[in-house]
Amino acid sequence: MRIVLFSFVLFMNLAAFSQGKGFFKESKLNGSLETNNQYYLNNKRGNILAPEKRFASNTYLTANYQYKGLRAGIQFEGYNQALQGFPTRYEGNKLVRRYIRYTNKKIDVHVGNFFEQFGNGLVFRAFEERSLGLDNNIDGLSIRYSPFQSLKIKAIWGRPRTFMERSPGEVIGGDLEWSPINREKDGNTQLLQLGTSYVKRFMRYYGADPKFPQQVEAFAARFNGQYNAFNFSGEWVHKSIEANFSNDYIKKKGLILFLKTGWQDPTNRVGVQLQFRRLENADFKGNFNSSDAVASINYTPALTRQHTNLLANIYPHSIQPIGEIGGMADFFIRFKKNTPLGGKYGTRIDINYSNYHALDSTRVTTGEGFISKRIIAFGKTKLFRDLNLIIDKRWTKDYKTLLTFINLFYNRTILQGGPYGDVRATLVVTDHYIKIKKKYQLRLNAEHMWVNSDERNWAGLLTEWSFPNGLSLFVSDMTNYQTYKMHYYNVGFALSKNKQRIQLSAGQQRAGLLCVGGICRFVPSYNGFSLNYTLNL
């Protein structure tokens, strides 16, 4: 490992110091540094105790080199105790990714650590989402081959990353995609893509069960198409018997069905998108002994609206890969400028609805755990429902508002695990954007959430000032004022200058998606100080 690393660094130095000469003229380098640091404090009132080691830090350093079709790169990660909310198995410093890749018009060969996705990711997806602590890159070989434009073939082999190590499980797979129809004329698109994937995971089992499935195979078939304003797609996944820590080692086959369709007016005045998905023993693990999301080699995210408000993130849907059925509907209407409902600047109305239930199933005493005979049947147990209405309206050149109404149902007993009961919540959010002299902006976000149980009602407020030199100042607070009367406040600044950005904040933060300082990022919970710095080179 060290030899690879030193060779790479030495080569990059040679490239740098020989800049503009011969071979190195075509050489291109880029890199980045990201460091997220937190210092924790006790909060005696909230009974939140800081960890023994007060300082935590996640640092990522990447470098990529390119010479024509040849690329190589490395990524270091350093955890001086991982930030709270990240798995503690992220520890120490390590070169976690190194690769070399050659690409031309027909072939793409990737040796080392790679990311790849087959279809919608339901059968295989290797990806990185640093802010959530997810990285399941595969260490091995990936090949993409396209003998002609309408045919794409992918093949992969290797071991997925699990925290700072490699999974004991090995993955091999292939994907084929054929596009028999691919026409675009006068703004009209006619497209049809048909695809199929196969993925196998093998991990040796040393226990006493002679029938334990060491090898799990998954097969998928899919279609995707568009006929002018109308789009449609779907994927069906069948998985052989898989037993793992997450499903309590039941020996059950897996099934995923995903369907999507939509229509959008070519002048963008109105549009609708509908999605349906059914999951049954759907989590495909690279390591059957791991419960962590990072150990999955497929991707079955919650198909619900990704909330960007302070309070709506308190009750997010948490998918149930063991068994879930439901879908999401999106509808929008745009009233044009200079119409009675559009006003001088136009009005946008965005409606989103999602609803998920457990499967209609019967428990069995065989090793299968449960059976669910009907494919399209909603179980009696309601898991999550979410209705969102957003009205986006510009009133003057310098003043714009977003009014959001959310009504949700959250089965806390199942989604959080415990005898909690159901949560029903209604949320109203007003967002105001005020521009001053074209360059300064004041953003004001006020929210209130009515909740029938748990921590009862919440209120939230966020203000942010943006200056033309790249500086943003922000203050936010959210409080469960009827019960614990805790204040989750956050005050800080962010400064962005071209390739660099620094953000310093202090307070008590809940985990969730936070949009301040000109960016959006997922933040872990903490009480204390947080310093983030990013640099691109």
């Binding site: 050489s27 675009e184 962010a494 950005r501």
Partner: protein, 158 residues
């Protein structure tokens, strides 16, 4: 030792950081593949903005570009390209968001974030200004109101 290695790694980066847009496969909203090599030797400057349906500052930035489209057309031949990094969780919202905001520029999809990773982008919005030779001449990390005016001034010189 690690500090030395760090310095040794970053020295060449600072010296040789003249960056071109890498050739990576991305998709149209419909799902049709496209290699970004086609943007490498564009005969006009490019503005490439990375965004997601759930990123409020991204939408604000792209709306600001959209509002200035007519002004930009008069002053520069530059082409604006918006590349979504939404994954399959929120991907159905890409077409909807582009329609709801009635963006007049092209929208593409970096499905598994291959292009984002090749450019070492960790936060969005992230905007690149690329000259006629395909060289990235400026990066903007985060959206600050007024960035669109700075970008327009820069484009006039390219």
């Amino acid at each position: 030792m690690r500090v030395l290695l760090f310095l040794f790694l970053f020295t060449p980066l600072t010296l040789l950081a003249q960056e071109k847009l890498p050739a990576v496969v991305i998709k149209s909203i419909a799902g049709k593949e496209l290699n970004t090599a086609v943007f490498q030797n564009s005969d006009v400057p490019l503005v490439i903005s990375f965004w997601a349906t759930w990123c409020k500052p991204c939408l604000q930035e792209l709306d600001a570009f959209n509002d200035l489209t007519e002004t930009w057309k008069k002053e520069t031949p530059a082409r604006i390209i918006a590349i979504s990094i939404d994954d399959s969780r929120t991907a159905s919202g890409i077409k909807k968001t582009a329609g709801l905001h009635d963006w007049s520029f092209e929208v593409f999809w970096d499905e598994n974030q291959d292009l984002k990773r090749a450019l070492n982008i960790s936060l969005i919005p992230h905007t690149l200004v690329i000259d006629r030779n395909g060289v990235i001449v400026k990066r903007y990390t985060a959206y600050v109101p007024g960035n669109e005016e700075k970008i327009l001034s820069l484009l006039k010189t390219l």
